[in-house]
């Protein structure tokens, strides 16, 4: 038995770094903070790797399955006699896998930022918040119970908020950060309600109990029906709502594209590799229950599938390279969700689950790579718009090469990482639901198309005139690119079926060429179209766009989801709820209170004539008072 209790330091180190750098931020030179942060993450990276090694290869299995063990657990707050919130470290295949992903990407991004953010004011702030994010994200994945997950879920959200709003003097950035936080917050409300329902029905927050073989979730909360679904289904749906919010699933996706206002490394880390997959991770974490509530799982599948298609369509029309990448992220996460949605539980049936985790893993590499590459490009040409670029391949060789690898990887061209994971997903989908399967084929093609549209527009085409000749990024930025490129090339060969499976029992994987080859062909086709349209500058694309007409504009306008939201929030909530409430409070509620005072004064003014100063009138009142008393007594007398 190996002692894993040191893993708590994976959590503590970033926290300490954050606190230290946060408090002393402007005392030292900015670079010092950067170094501290990066070093801290380096240590975390090492620890995670060691942990992963020990966990997968040293730690002996129980009945062939990887154990899930509480490396550390400490009660944080007692709620009811049954419920209590713990803070701890839960190690099982997916959490360890996530540790690797997060620490790697985060480490890379730290190094990259040392170069990218150089000279920015707020450099120190950037790094301290970055380590806050790493802390929260790590805490999220190693959560031992759903409430700890919720806690760090919120923290992730706020650090994302702070990073998106990093350039806080840019109004667009501020707006974007607000949007991101509020939308996810709204989703989190669902998550919270889900937790409340779940914890009330099952009487526990603990993952091991909840997702164990004989979880109370399977037995309790089944009977009660509301809108034709059991309590447990509802709670799962609410939980999924939270996941959908973080993972930018339709219709809660609107914040992700705007989130690109943040510095590019942030987009790479948070909005491509780690935070946005938290939703997927959540579903995977709760998978046994989801699997038990098939109707919920069905919804997960369809939402994922639709989002992937939806995002892909939009991605084809955007010009801001970061937005293209953002939409592609959405679409890829859609893949993962779908994979979970179509998965079964245990052994071969768990293929989708495995595939989803696999894709999450590989996607982290190539998407981070893409973003960092985009960062390098932007760094070089100081523009986000691909139609202001072109022919950059001779200026930025390394970026070009790595970017190309990434594009191939995401398009699912063997032998790059994306191919394997995506193939598994397609297989899973094929076995489960043909419609979704077809949809995903289409999406695969579109993915290839828009990625290469981007690629050609940036690196080929004819040169634009840049106000200064673009130059390759500094070494601090290229090294991460290279490392990630290596990752996204070879990550595909990791035998995931042996490591991360739904019931942590390894099973044999086999590429179903019957499904793989067509997908490759489709991808190639997509690439081909892109090549034809964009390799040389030609106006064919314009023609097609005009041919598509309304659909194109709709897609270009992101199908006007933002406008809908804007209408609901600004118009309905602000004007038709909040304003009336404010008015009501001032005029009705407050008015009534003031009325009391007013009436009192008026009355006291009305009756002043009573005191006329006339002695005889006083006497009259006196006498009548006596008479009135007499009458009163007679009245009392008679009854």
């Amino acid at each position: 038995m190996i002692d894993f209790s040191y893993t708590i330091w994976i959590l503590l180190i970033p926290l300490i770094v954050f606190v230290v750098t946060g408090l002393t931020g402007n005392r030292f030179k900015p670079i010092v903070t950067g170094i501290i942060g990066t070093a801290g993450l380096g240590v975390v990276f090492l620890l995670s790797v060691i942990t992963a090694y020990k966990f997968f290869f040293v730690l002996d299995k129980v009945g062939g399955a990887f154990q899930r063990l509480l490396a550390f657990n400490h009660t944080w707050l007692h709620l009811t006699d049954k419920l209590h919130i713990d803070i701890g470290v839960l190690l099982d295949p997916i959490s360890v896998m996530m540790l690797i992903v997060i620490s790697t990407v985060s480490f890379m991004v730290h190094i990259y930022s040392l170069g990218y953010m150089k000279g920015e004011k707020g450099f120190a702030r950037f790094f301290s918040i970055l380590s806050l994010f790493s802390f929260s994200m790590l805490g999220l994945v190693i959560a031992t119970n759903i409430f700890q997950m919720y806690i760090f879920w919120e923290l992730v959200g706020v650090s994302s908020f702070l990073l998106i709003g990093f350039y806080y003097e840019k109004d667009s950035a501020v707006a974007a950060s607000k949007k991101a936080f509020i939308v996810t917050r709204f989703a989190d409300l669902g998550f919270l309600i889900g937790i409340l329902l779940l914890s009330y029905t099952t009487g526990t927050f603990d993952f091991i109990t909840l997702t164990g073989p004989n979880s109370p979730a399977f037995t309790s909360g089944q009977g009660i029906m509301f809108l034709g679904m059991s309590t447990m289904t509802w709670s799962m749906l609410f939980v999924f709502m939270g996941g959908a919010g973080k993972s930018a699933m339709f219709p809660l996706h609107i914040w992700l594209p705007d989130a690109m206002e943040g510095p590019t490394p942030v987009s790479a880390l948070i909005h491509a590799a780690t935070m946005v997959v938290a939703g997927v991770y959540l579903v995977a974490r709760m998978f046994p229950i989801f699997h038990h509530e098939q109707s919920a799982l069905e919804i997960v599948a369809w939402v994922g599938g639709f989002t992937s298609l939806f995002a892909a369509v939009i991605a084809c029309t955007q010009y801001d390279i970061k937005r293209v990448l953002a939409y592609s992220t959405m679409s890829q996460i859609g893949y993962m969700m779908l994979a979970l949605g179509v998965s079964g539980y245990g052994g071969e049936d768990g293929l989708g689950y495995m595939a989803s985790m696999f894709h999450l893993f590989t996607h982290a590499f190539f998407k981070a790579l893409l973003f960092l590459g985009a960062g390098a490009i932007i760094h070089a040409v100081h523009s986000n718009y691909m139609n202001e670029m072109g022919g950059l391949r001779k200026y930025l060789p390394i970026t070009h090469a790595t970017f190309l690898i990434a594009c191939l990887a995401i398009s699912g061209i063997p032998p790059f990482a994306g191919f394997f994971s995506k193939d598994e997903i397609l297989v899973a989908a094929f076995h489960h639901n043909k419609a979704l399967f077809a949809m995903e084929y289409l999406v695969a093609g579109m993915t290839a198309f828009y990625m290469f549209r981007l690629y050609f527009n940036v690196f080929w085409g004819q040169e634009q005139h840049y106000h200064h000749t673009p130059h390759e990024a500094p070494v601090t930025m290229t090294i991460p690119l290279i490392i990630l490129a290596i990752g996204s090339t070879f990550a595909g060969f990791i035998p995931f079926t042996k490591l991360v499976t739904s019931d942590s029992l390894p099973f044999e994987s086999h590429t179903e060429w019957g499904i793989a080859i067509p997908s490759i062909l489709i991808a190639l086709a997509g690439i081909g179209i892109a090549t034809m349209l964009y390799m040389k500058k030609s106006d064919t694309s314009k023609k097609i766009a005009t041919a598509l007409g309304g659909f194109y504009t709709a897609a270009y306008g992101k199908f006007y989801i933002d406008q809908v939201y804007l209408f609901i929030t600004k118009k309905i909530l602000f004007n038709y709820v909040s304003r009336p409430v404010a008015w009501f409070d001032r005029h009705i509620v407050d008015g009534t209170m003031n009325q009391f005072a007013y009436v009192t004064n008026v009355v006291s003014d009305r009756i002043k004539g009573f005191q006329s100063g006339q002695l005889q009138q006083y006497a009259l009142v006196f006498i009548s008072g006596v008479i009135a008393l007499a009458l009163l007594f007679i009245y009392l007398w008679t009854n």
């Binding site: 007692h78 919120e154 806080y168 003097e169 409300l189 602000f574 407050d590």
Partner: protein, 503 residues
């Protein structure tokens, strides 16, 4: 002699000291010394209390002392603390300490200002330690009255109007309370024996149901007025907007808690039967209050109004939780009181400091302040995050406890109320971020703001104290919640005896 008496004696001594001190500086420093003593005392109290509990002292009330005052009415001067009141005392001492520093630059009649401020705090301390309903009420009014002078003399805006309105509404509340207390007193011995104001003794007897039904509304509404129970909250926006910084801090931070504490300690604790019957009415009101305050805050332009409305929302949550009448929710209520107390005090302190620098409280006249006053800016963001219930700050702990607690009711009505109330966390996020966005971020609109100086040392002391308070509770809530739980035990026993079992 129980050392709890010091909590009243120290303020009085401080006031005397202020009376005899000559210069403004002396006045301030006397106040600082006195209130630091209070803070230390509170720390010691918490320590001794936990120590005593750890030593296995399971008495319901610790450090109690009982002196007969009015023999023939059986009025006693009976003081003592349980877990809850210890927590509240801690809160009070923190806030008043920060308040002294936050009002460092009062120039007009500083002697009178600090005197009234400290008298107010004395009243609050007395309220929290007294277990005899008569003295409880006495201290309650002592705590309320100085507000009039504090707002009226040192306030801003329509201060006379606000001061009058606030005082009259709160006194109206206390009038209802007085009637309720008399009712309790004359029903305190249903089966013979001497009548009593003694809270603990009354909590041992079963008050006849008709009396409960009659007096519960008086007590609950009476305290609810101070606890900003919808629709009796309207003194709060005006009052807070007009009050000087420290007063807003103390008022929203501590005084409004008197209401919540009273509802919990007197209304629900002593009249549980009626509470069970009538809870639903007030639950509806508080649920409205929670969401209503939040929405009201969205539209405001004045920083203090925004915060006042958010206070309405948060305090409504306190009463909401109290009415849920189960251990977890009540625990949450107390925590929410403490958390909101410190948090809102922080807010008002910051608003005061910002106002002192920009001379406006209208958010759309400001912008980009983060650039020129990073310390205050960051503090404001922290406050905001705490207020929208971010983990790691006290707000989260409190709200989660409340929601989990109130979700233990397995019926649609409570569920719906809970979910509506919970949805306030989103609305809160909306208005907090709106303010933060407009106020701190973006470009500086008014060029004069470019040469604003950041917080001075006394500002920093008060802000840091409060932030420490929030984070300390937010990071390690266990000791606090256990302490409160321990104080809640007798309350829960009585409630469970009285009505349908809620687990």
């Amino acid at each position: 002699m129980s050392f709890l008496l010091l909590f009243i004696v120290i303020p009085v001594l401080t006031v005397i000291g202020i009376f005899f001190s000559r210069t403004h500086m002396q006045v301030k420093w006397t106040a600082v010394v006195g209130m630091s003593c209070q803070l230390i005392m509170a720390g010691l109290l918490i320590y001794f209390f936990l120590a005593a509990r750890a030593a296995g002292n399971t008495a319901e009330i610790l450090f109690s002392q009982d002196m007969v005052w009015y023999k023939n009415l059986n009025i006693h001067f009976f003081i003592g603390v349980d877990g809850v009141s210890v927590a509240m005392i801690g809160l009070t001492s923190i806030v008043i300490f920060a308040g002294i520093f936050a009002s460092w630059d009062v120039t007009d009649l500083p002697r009178e200002f600090f005197t009234s401020l400290i008298l107010l705090s004395a009243g609050v301390f007395g309220f929290f330690i007294s277990l005899d309903l008569f003295t409880l009420f006495l201290f309650y009014e002592i705590a309320v009255i100085p507000m009039y002078l504090l707002i009226g003399i040192w306030g801003s805006g329509p201060r006379h109007y606000s001061a009058m309105k606030l005082t009259l509404m709160l006194m109206g509340g206390s009038a209802l309370i007085m009637l309720g207390l008399l009712g309790l007193y004359f029903n305190s011995a249903p089966n013979g024996g001497p009548l009593t104001f003694n809270l603990i003794q009354i909590s041992k007897v079963a008050i006849p149901m008709p009396a409960q039904r009659f007096f519960f509304p008086f007590l609950f509404v009476g305290f609810g007025v101070l606890g900003a129970l919808f629709p009796f909250h309207t003194w709060s926006p005006d009052g807070h907007a007009s009050a000087p910084t420290a007063v807003s801090m103390l008022h929203a931070g501590v005084l409004m808690k008197l209401g919540g504490y009273g509802c919990y300690r007197v209304a629900v604790f002593l009249l549980p039967g009626a509470a069970h019957e009538m809870a639903w009415i007030f639950l509806i009101l508080t649920t409205i209050g929670v969401i209503y305050g939040a929405f009201g805050a969205i539209w405001q332009k004045d920083l203090k109004y925004i915060n006042a409305y958010s206070s309405v929302s948060h305090c409504a949550l306190v009463l909401f939780a109290v009415l849920m009448m189960n251990q977890t929710a009540m625990n949450g209520a107390i925590m929410q009181m403490i958390s909101h107390g410190i948090m809102t005090a922080l807010f008002f302190a910051l608003i005061g400091m910002i106002y002192g620098r920009t001379h406006t409280r209208y958010i759309n006249e400001m912008g980009g302040l983060m650039k020129v006053m990073p310390f205050l800016g960051v503090a404001y963001v922290i406050g905001g995050l705490a207020s929208l219930g971010l983990p790691g700050f006290s707000g989260f702990v409190a709200e989660m406890t409340i929601f989990v607690g109130s979700f233990q009711h397995n019926d649609v009505f409570h569920r719906v109320c809970t979910i509506i109330a919970a949805s306030s966390i989103v609305v809160t996020a909306v208005y907090i971020l709106r303010v933060v966005g407009i106020l701190l971020m973006g470009k500086i609109r008014n060029p004069e703001f470019n040469h604003i100086i950041d917080a001075k040392w006394f500002d920093r002391i008060s802000v840091v104290t409060l932030i420490l308070g929030i984070t300390a509770i937010g990071m390690a809530p266990l000791w606090l919640s256990d302490m409160i739980n321990n104080g809640l035990v007798p309350v829960m026993q009585r409630i469970l005896l009285a009505g349908p079992i809620i687990h």
